[in-house]
Amino acid sequence: MSPVSGPNRRVLVAAGPIVVVLLILPWVVEPYQTVLLSYGLVFAIAALGFNLLLGYTGLLSFGHSAYFGVGAYAVAFTVKYLKVGSMELLLLAGILASALVAAVFGLVCVRYTRIFFGILTLALSQVLWSLAFKFFWVTGGTDGLRVPTPTLLGVSIDAGQDKMAFLAHRYYYYVLVLFVAATAVMWVIVHSPFGKALQAIRDNETRAEFVGVQVWHYRWVAFLISGVFTGLAGALWVPLNGLTTPDILVWNFSGEIVFFTVLGGFKTFAGPIVGAVVFNYLKTFAVGYTVYWQMFLGVVLVTLVLALPTGIMGMVARLSQKWSQKWKRTPAP
């Protein structure tokens, strides 16, 4: 028996070409496109974390901006007060801070489900937002905190190198490697016995409890992992953006995380990734095209909910099924 079993091998076969395309992309397209894609990949990490709760555990968090923001602010604080320039240490700071906050908030939130869970996560994320907003002498208030370009694996940006070129090449690969790693880890998590237990809780809490699953404990661990993924995304996002502002802590951003997960389709593993990348393009396009970009996104969201509740991946799955049936019925001559 091969070490990689059936469905896993199929996934590797599908993911391989995508990763290859992503690897050669910076050599083909303009730097701006690569940076844009970096944003998309960063959001995809956040969405993967978010979907562990929504898609796999059945908990809708409306406060995931908190962990993204904590990751980002942890990086900014470490740079500002500890003068750390190494991205690896900054990521560690972001992960530790978001893990801590997610652990505490999780203890509080996982006692509830459904709408109460949503409102509680929202209220707690707003606490952090209001602190970032009001304690301007620490957090820079609405001006935010600037973060200089960090060193990657001990190598700093070449003297005189354009920051855009740095972001479009070295930083892009840095994000890509972490994205692939995060995706792989999440894949392992959701296919492990732990992931199966989460899905059991999602589908029937009472039965899961009877089978011997300690429901709240599993939910708490899922919450923690979810927060850490989103925090990692926040930490990776800071050097791209160059500064952190309270905008990434406010609940509208939580709404966007929910949005892109649903856009991709929260019932599939790849849905949140696709959704995050597509949403990022959609939003960038809309913001550049019209001042009424919120309305555009709102219309997309309403249409999505009413007409395509399974998201992009759900639609793709349905279409491919239809085509493959057609294919079988009319064999090639």
Binding site: R111, V258, V302, V305
Partner: protein, 292 residues
């Protein structure tokens, strides 16, 4: 003593406006079990409509008392908007998981936010002449704007009116029956779709009324809806989702804490409010008057 009285009046002022917004939110949740994230935008919509209508008429020879009545254009238009939105956007979703209901109201929030910008532009509208027109009262050695007192009275009247409407009329009975058990009410011959439209419209009317009465005092600005929504959430969570008594008590508590907060601990005022909501959820998840 005078300062204490002024603090109390200020608390009541916040509470009055908050009750109008949160009361509507709670009513909608109580009957339809939908948390309407776009509720704050209906409040903002009411404010903009009221400001715009009064702005058209002001200085045109319309007697001032009529202008105060013209403010009612805000709630009426907000209610009309609600009456259109419920059957078109929300009704298809009642059978679906509540994630979708939250999402569609979030989409609606985004749309309404920009719709306001599209119609009235990015600049604030103000009708401060209505605020100044009422003059002020002397309370001991301090002066207090009469308009603020009027807002408190309107808030109080709205609370009493709503209570009478829900507990003393035929419609109220139907509304409460639907809220308690929708299927049973339907089996008894209640037209649930109609009750839902009416409840949603009434909730939007209250939000619009809240918007209209703050306009003379604060003007109508972009983003007011989202800010108000979050405070209304705090109120509703403290009082209990779906309970009007809860919305009233919650609004009073938040009003008092805000007034204290602005004077004593301005940096953490908002954080304290959100923490209050979180703590209440922890101790009594259904809120003080809720029936989850």
């Amino acid at each position: 003593m005078d300062t204490l009285l002024i603090h109390i009046l200020n608390s009541l002022l916040y509470a009055a406006v908050l009750f109008l917004i949160a009361g509507g939110l709670s009513l909608i949740y109580g009957v339809m079990h939908i948390v309407n994230l776009a509720h704050g935008n209906l409040y903002a919509f009411g404010a903009f409509v009221a400001a715009w209508t009064v702005g058209l008429l002001v200085g045109g020879g319309t007697p001032t008392p009529v202008l105060y009545l013209v403010l009612l254009a805000g709630p009426v238009v907000a209610a009309a908007l609600g009456a259109v939105l419920e059957p078109t956007l929300l009704r298809p979703l009642y059978q679906r998981p509540e994630e979708y209901q939250l999402l569609i109201t979030f989409g609606l929030l985004l749309i309404l936010e920009d719709l306001i910008r599209l119609i009235w532009g990015p600049y604030p509208l103000s009708v401060s002449s209505l605020f100044e027109g009422m003059g002020s009262l002397n309370i001991g050695e301090s002066i207090y704007p009469t308009y603020n007192l009027a807002v408190i009275v309107v808030g109080g009247l709205a609370a009493v009116g709503l209570w009478a409407f829900i507990y003393r009329t035929q419609f109220g009975v139907v509304l409460r029956a639907t809220s308690q058990n929708m299927r049973m009410a339907q089996a008894m011959g209640v037209n649930v779709n109609r009750v839902y439209v009416q409840a949603f419209t009434l909730g939007c009317f209250m939000a619009g009324l809240g918007g209209a009465i703050v306009v003379p005092q604060q003007g109508a600005v972009l983003g007011m809806g989202v800010d108000a929504l979050i405070l209304a959430f705090v109120v509703v969570v403290i009082g209990g989702l779906g309970s009007l008594e809860g919305a009233l008590v919650g609004a009073l508590m938040v009003g008092v804490v805000r007034e204290l907060g602005i004077n004593l601990f301005p940096e953490v005022e908002l954080a304290v409010l959100y923490l209050m909501a979180a703590v209440v959820l922890l101790i009594r998840p259904a809120g003080q008057f809720g029936r989850a």
